[in-house]
């Protein structure tokens, strides 16, 4: 470096990557530095602001624990996670739409019998889920593996609770599709809930006057040999937060009408103590390698 204007500095930094062995890393770093430097120039970033950014990123890293990923949450609320999903799924060809994995997939890989109630010990209005896995032509994908997980009435996933690991899974299960591609289970009606706001992401949500709510949803991860793994949610029609999801995860095609029932006998023959619900949603799988990106699921077993 010698006498420079700030564009020469950018060129110098990019030149410092000349010996990078991995060409993809070199191209990503070049784009990153171009982008970061343009950002600093366009905003004329002050020392105080730079210092705030350093401190903010540091606190975000330090808020991460074995059961909390604040950087994923930051990526989520800035729409980056959803954008990464979008650029990796540009052509759906009629397959079910994808959305973010979220930070709460922890893998519960023991297959559960169809019709099981996965909400044991959790309060809420009963909901029966009926689903079918097919290819793009409607052919049943027998043996497809379906992981489901969702939050309880207070907005917590079982992995966030102190009891996690000490008792069986709750609102989390794996099913194997039958010969006709079908599976079904009983759970509770999910509710909209806030993302955690006691860390740096909450600070951002507060400073921008945004609300922290996510509309009610159930997560699905569907895998079948010879098909692209499907990571998605099914949202509940009528939720007030469908148009303002804190993590920008909603797509129209993923919103499902959940039927409310008031009959005294529920779908499984049990006596109802109040209203109960039925969600019916089918998934169309796209041909692909059938392998879930492993690092993505590093929290899994």
């Amino acid at each position: 470096m010698t006498r420079f204007d700030d564009h020469q500095l950018t060129a110098e930094v990019i030149r410092s990557f000349d010996k990078t062995r991995n060409p993809r890393l070199k191209s990503i770093l070049t784009e990153l530095v171009t982008s970061l430097h343009d950002f600093v120039r366009k905003t004329d970033l002050s020392f105080e602001e730079w210092n705030y950014a350093i401190d903010y990123l540091t606190r975000t890293g330090q808020a991460c624990t074995a059961t909390r990923q604040e950087f994923i949450l930051l990526s989520d609320v800035l729409g980056v996670s959803m954008l990464v999903d979008a650029v990796n799924h540009r052509e759906r060809d009629g397959a079910t739409q994808t959305t973010v994995l979220g930070p709460f997939y922890v893998g519960e890989h023991r297959p559960t019998p169809h019709g099981s109630d996965i909400s044991t010990g959790v309060d809420g209005e009963p909901m029966f889920v009926r689903s079918r896995i097919t290819d793009l032509d409607g052919k049943a994908l027998a043996g497809a593996v379906i992981d489901v997980w969702h939050a309880d009435d207070d907005g917590f996933y079982d992995s966030q609770k102190p009891s996690y690991g000490k008792q069986g899974p709750s609102l989390r299960a794996r099913f194997i599709a039958d010969h006709d591609g079908r599976f079904s289970f009983r759970t509770i009606l999910p509710r909209s809930y806030p993302i955690p706001t006691d860390g740096p992401v909450g600070e951002l949500i507060g400073a921008t006057g945004r609300h922290p709510m996510r509309p009610a949803h159930v997560h699905f991860l569907v895998q079948a040999q010879g098909y692209e793994p499907l990571i998605t949610h099914v949202f509940l029609e009528g939720d007030p937060y469908l148009t303002s999801d804190a993590v920008f995860g909603v797509k129209d095609e993923l919103v499902s009408r959940v039927e409310r029932h008031d009959e005294p006998l529920m779908a499984d023959g049990e006596r109802a103590s109040g209203p109960w619900h039925v969600m019916t949603y089918d998934f169309q799988m796209k041909p692909g390698t059938g392998v879930v990106p492993q690092p993505l699921l590093s929290a899994a077993e």
Copy 2:
């Protein structure tokens, strides 16, 4: 959010900042999201790469301690710190050039007598520093406050050592300019040294085939009432790393010829046991508010 292409997603995220009370924050976040989203689109970032980035940022945050700031180091090696310096000092008007503060300023605010040896107990070749502080017209700035700090022969600052805080400062002092704007001290000749490479930044340096070295330098922070604080280094002419500083901090104007002497009596009359050196470098101050940005120096007392 409803059916969207990925540009609609970006617009949606920017719209989520509509209620931000601080207009500067709103404008910075808008630029940040535009920039981040463009980066993801241009690189077609994969899930694995996004996941690596999340993990890298998390580890960078978790590498930070009371005496180590890995995010500042990351900002440094990507040229961002130097660029923030550049955009905040576009017009020098003949004043001394600035450079990065670096992560090792910790504030040692007890004035030291002129001529003092600040290298007590540290091995190295003696170096005598003579300097003068003036305004842009050459008028002496009596009473200017000068903080100096530099690394030892092994490349460590005193704040990095286990003994820090238990004994007096080492290679770190504050001087007050005399009636003619002058001050002087004795120290050791600084050497080039590597930035810390045992963390995520070292991983980046390794993957890009860069070296981690910084050319030898002494840090100066000069403050005078009615003048813009001056944060800079003086580098040593002839250093092999002047053109490839790991943090891009070198400017031609900051490189000083340090005279080598082999006379048996040194500048302070003491008997020499080997070669000794003289650095002469004067500083020109620019009119300004005279206040060092406080958050920048939050590590200081």
